[in-house]
Structure formats: C-alpha cells, structure tokens
Symmetry: C2
Subunit: 157 residues, 2 copies
Amino acid sequence: MRGTRCCDSSWWHGRFRGGGYKITCARESVLAVLSNTNKHLSADDIYMQARSKYPNMGLATIYRTLDILSELGIILKFDFGDGKNRYELAEGFGGSQHHHHLICTKCNRVVDYTDFIDEEIELLKQTEKGLSKKYNFKITNHLIQFYGICEKCFDKK
Amino acid sequence: MRGTRCCDSSWWHGRFRGGGYKITCARESVLAVLSNTNKHLSADDIYMQARSKYPNMGLATIYRTLDILSELGIILKFDFGDGKNRYELAEGFGGSQHHHHLICTKCNRVVDYTDFIDEEIELLKQTEKGLSKKYNFKITNHLIQFYGICEKCFDKK
DNA sequence: AAATTAAATGAGAATAATTCTTATTATCAA
DNA sequence: TTGATAATAAGAATTATTCTCATTTAATTT
C-alpha cells in the first residue's frame, strides 16, 4: 500500500507464507475488518471499512485478498440472494461458532443459527465420507441454508 | 410475444393463475426448455434455447419468468460459483428426483447426488420444524451443497 | 544495510449478469 | 369484441466482479 505504514505480526502469517503468499498491509486490513465484526460483509462493505484506515486501498485488492482467504479456508463465502457475495471469518480463525443460515426470501434477512447443528454436522460427516468415496471428490466444505418468510414479511401480506 | 403463435394448455396453468399471473407464450417456452433437460441451465442458456423456437423473445422476460417460477416453487435456483445463477425444474413439476449437489471448486463441475438423501431429508425436516418455531419463519426450502476438488482437478496438481 | 526480484498494488477500464424503462402488444374478464 | 391491465421486446442502465499495466512493496540475497 502506498504511503501508509502498518503490518503487525499475527497468527495468520504462517498460514499465509505456507500458501506462498506475502504479508501485506492490504491483507492485514481485510483480516482486521473481518475480525472485528460478526456481520456478513460484502466486498464493498469491507472496502469501505478498510479505507477508513488505509485510504489508498483499491477494491480489486479486496477481491484478490478475499479469494486467497477463501482458498486458505480462513474465511467463508456466502450468497444470500441479494446479488453480492458475503464473507465471514471461519470458526477456528476468530470467527463465531460454526453455524448455518436461515434466509428470508422477501427481505433477505439472515439469521445465524447454531441450534440443531450437532446432529447436522454428524450426518454431514457421514455423507461426506460416502460422497468422497463414490465420486472421488476431496471434500473441503459444505453449505446448508434454509429459506423461508420471516415473521415481519409474513405479517405484511 | 410478437408474431408467434403458441400456448398449449398444461398442468401449470392453474398454479399460475392462482398466483395472479397470466399464461403467456414466453412463460410457456421457458417452462418447455426447463422441462426438456436435466442440466442446470443459466438464464442465458434458456434464452438461447427458447429463442430457437420463439426468436422474438427478450432476455429480460426470461429473468422475469424465472423469478415467478422460483417464487411459485416450480423451479429451483442455484449458485454454483461461476458467476451466474442456474435453474432446474423442481421435483413434482417434472424435474428429476430430489437431489443435492457436489461442486468442484476448481473447475465448477457439478455432480447431482441422490445417495444419502433420505437420512438428510429426515433430519432436515426436524431441523425445519425446530427453526420455524424458534425463529418464526415459514420455511419453504433448503439448500445443501458439498464443495471439494474433483478427481481430474486433483490429479492435475 | 543496499540491491534484487518477483509478487502485490492502485487506478480505472472492461466485462458480464441482472434490472430497469418505455412504448407496444397480448391476455382475459366482462 | 372490447377494454383494462399485465406482460413484452429492445436496449439502455446498473452493478458486482475481473482484468490490465505501470508502479510499489515484501522478502531474499549480497
């Protein structure tokens, strides 16, 4: 980044270097933004917040960084149906507890739920095992979302 | 649609009228395309195929129709990570058996699987019930996808 | 510590999926 | 058949994301 100093050392440096990537201010600040929220931020949300600290940062860098972080499993990428991808820190990297999403198809409100997760995870593990074997996939991740109409939108009609 | 005749009566007319929508040639042809494939078609794919029969059809109409069909639960909308949404007919409307998807994150190949579905569905039903109650959602749908690296992409590396 | 080198960046142009606008046309109820 | 109204085609507009390239930076080597 031009004209700004930054770069504290932190936990993710090893993982980044292991992936063959350099530690840069831009990458620091994307992770800083994601570490300080439990919301589902879009690339542009992250851009805005990161810029308030590092005004020179470009949006393309945000996207490039998000790609790498996703690839390394440090963040998770979601599509909640509003036309932009959203990101959150993975559990184990400072993100909140493993959860799934309940999405209102009218207003796009998203509820993170952790209830019922344990049985889901258990079943998913078995399914993963079966699928890996049958289709020769190395499975790295799963996505579960429920869709419906939230109380507010239901009342409106 | 201008300058083309069409419109056979069919099963979905009632459901359409029930939703307050009119039966049009454009809508007929979108459904016709989706009824004749088990692939995951994008809006543009559908546009191309529909145009081969009804050359005057506009792309915007495809999108409008897909929205309505999704809302009515006649088709399902998926994001497989390649930047465009994809659609398939729902089971019960002529679509193939209820299935979930296994997606390669390198080449975007998608495998439909029906194995292991029964246990999944059973668990999902219970989860839905719990979620509906706790969060006051009227749940209409769910999404399960597994992500990984397919055999081909794994061998390449 | 300075030089080196390849990766990363910012800026903004390019791309591409989706949505919007408007004048025209088709559906369907009366 | 006709009138009210929803739906359409065409293409412009929007917007998320990717690409390009000259410049800068991180990390390695001297």
